[in-house]
Assembly symmetry: D3
Amino acid sequence: MRTVEAYFEDYEIGSSRSTTGRTVTEADIVLHAGQTGDFFPHHMDAEWCATQPFGQRIAHGTLIMSMAVGMTAGDINPRATSYGYDRVRFVRPVFIGDTIAVRAEITAIRDHKRRPDQLGQVDETVTVTNQHGAVVLSLVHLYVVEKRPTDEPGPTETPA
Amino acid sequence: MRTVEAYFEDYEIGSSRSTTGRTVTEADIVLHAGQTGDFFPHHMDAEWCATQPFGQRIAHGTLIMSMAVGMTAGDINPRATSYGYDRVRFVRPVFIGDTIAVRAEITAIRDHKRRPDQLGQVDETVTVTNQHGAVVLSLVHLYVVEKRPTDEPGPTETPA
Amino acid sequence: MRTVEAYFEDYEIGSSRSTTGRTVTEADIVLHAGQTGDFFPHHMDAEWCATQPFGQRIAHGTLIMSMAVGMTAGDINPRATSYGYDRVRFVRPVFIGDTIAVRAEITAIRDHKRRPDQLGQVDETVTVTNQHGAVVLSLVHLYVVEKRPTDEPGPTETPA
Amino acid sequence: MRTVEAYFEDYEIGSSRSTTGRTVTEADIVLHAGQTGDFFPHHMDAEWCATQPFGQRIAHGTLIMSMAVGMTAGDINPRATSYGYDRVRFVRPVFIGDTIAVRAEITAIRDHKRRPDQLGQVDETVTVTNQHGAVVLSLVHLYVVEKRPTDEPGPTETPA
Amino acid sequence: MRTVEAYFEDYEIGSSRSTTGRTVTEADIVLHAGQTGDFFPHHMDAEWCATQPFGQRIAHGTLIMSMAVGMTAGDINPRATSYGYDRVRFVRPVFIGDTIAVRAEITAIRDHKRRPDQLGQVDETVTVTNQHGAVVLSLVHLYVVEKRPTDEPGPTETPA
Amino acid sequence: MRTVEAYFEDYEIGSSRSTTGRTVTEADIVLHAGQTGDFFPHHMDAEWCATQPFGQRIAHGTLIMSMAVGMTAGDINPRATSYGYDRVRFVRPVFIGDTIAVRAEITAIRDHKRRPDQLGQVDETVTVTNQHGAVVLSLVHLYVVEKRPTDEPGPTETPA
């Protein structure tokens, strides 16, 4: 975890980053049920799932989303604030033993509506794939980022 | 947890449900960091947070979202599938010791674009408030719901 | 989770409810060992268990009991208080991967000994079965329930 | 954790053992809710609890019972099997920050009904007290214990 | 867990103790990643591990070390303090499903450098083996132990 | 988490890195007791601790060590392998609510004894301090690092 200061001007459409993989385990599902209180049989009852079209237990949508967002939380940017998500879509189910990886790409950059002199908005499209390369989840992560003060030089990295 | 069959025709705009409250604890944040790998100091470093404008540790956005969605997971509807979220917005920070409650209201109902004869889409607006009644998170939960077959009677409840 | 007010007069011998299933996972056993401090090899040492008559790791009795009681915690009744259990019996071992389900039936109703005008006692027999339909645990859950005040109408449900 | 072989003949009415204390934490309650799926506001909603006679969150009964039984799981006796509990009574609520300790005393010894030549039954009364010395939980832990074969010497300890 | 008072004079080179086994589970690794924040693909990404010489996910070194030290924490000695470890060596990887056991042997006893009249130092060599009998971890656990006051009799055990 | 290839020749004595802070919580201690099975009253019994010189519960040594090592697990170096620790010393207790930070400095570099042509050894001294700047733990983390093949250019970073 490093602190890397980046101002609005440092973001570029099309720049992207990719994570290493993470295997979604039965333990993750058990812990997520425990954290959320969602013990729906779709996640918890292997016998019933075996009678359903999907055939086996499915990870909670909020689990995959939380894991994916966490996997992109690599560098701390003190100039950016996350304020929400748009178009969160669960495209395919994630099963126990699947391994997910995340790609995040800057897909939109625009001035902040109310404070265009000081702030900008940055959209990062997060795409989660499984071990077969198939997309399981996509979403747009929304950031507000400070614009560089006129007397400030380029990006600074504090390695940690 | 009950199984309550409800078809598209059973949903009405404006109908709503509310949950009991849940206190967000330090343990929840520790467990969510552990589940997601997001150990940003905003969530984990009380000393640093004390030097920041928000003054204390903040719950992860995905934690509050996961808890809130879980709190609404009361009845199983075998006719409905959750496929995503729109307009997820973190309106205010949630601190350790805050108690959240959730209200979910059906806010849009429409035919499914590709299969309007069999399916409909239902939007449920989820609003999370803290113990002061202030909104901390809102989102729209998206469902696809089966339309009632022509030979089928009204909603059925299997109490559990 | 709904709040459903039910007075003593609303309970009937023979009325019952059944839960969906829950698969008992290795993670559940690991977490229960961690919560209780019981790391007996019967639960934790697959190698040693393979040399024993039961052949594999066994879930803690208190784990199955805690899960089963939790699975019946569906509706909140502000008029009832749980005060204990009688005749808790571990009938068969539960192994990793077994799926349990719970049936709870009202089996006894009687006046409270010291305050018969205001309170009654309700016994709910909880039976836990595995995926083969075999009973693994039974117990009697003991409740004290308020009697309906003379000026009060029938049961009220606050859906949530 | 030691393995200490004890046959039925080695148990004596009135013999007892006591544990060190354990503080019941908010994290324990969060983890137990997560393990059982019981998110009743009595355990999880500090705001609502503050409006109730008990005034604050209460530990789940099954949590205190599981912790107490675990605290007595010190020595492994390969000659004894736990088969259930009788008269589990929650005498007082346990609050976050309370410290419990357990005393276990052999209170009954009798021949096994169906196999009196080979087996005996041993009742151990488990009493859980809080930091004020007040009883919060009591139960009777039921064991079946092998009788000593005629050619076998006294108890053996394998320290570990 | 028992409290067993032992003074420096009660320790003997060559005396040893051995634990029962514990199977290292996928859940343990998930929980340790969550506790430490170490989500390296060596521990979390089954797909990538399959492409590496070791072929499968490996338990964190600090997990095996923490488990092993915990497995030796059987008796409380109020006269001894643990102050560190020397020569911690990860000899072989531990995989999911391996079962470890621990042997601890007193391997050095000497007077404390600065307070030889009151204190001594005791080294306990901890050796962790897997189900094949192969060493996976060794370390030296370092204790400072009080010397017996001249007016004090032999060791006392408070069974618990 | 990034993958940063660094060969033996890329390490320099005196180069260092520092982490952000992490507050040690009651939940961390509860989880560590659960992971290790070490429920000693020093960590779990607030009442007893209040009667001791240290006055309050103390984090397990292996918890602080595991957290600290995890906090330094920022970049993956496929050319380096961790094989152990030397001189692990618990200098001061860590209490609930303390915030630790870690500094890691390369303090020794030498050829590998048996394969000096291909491998080197690198010692990284890890120092953990609390919010008062006092050292609570120090250790030396031991790595074996590949030497750069003669046909290989300088360090490569694969950002993630």
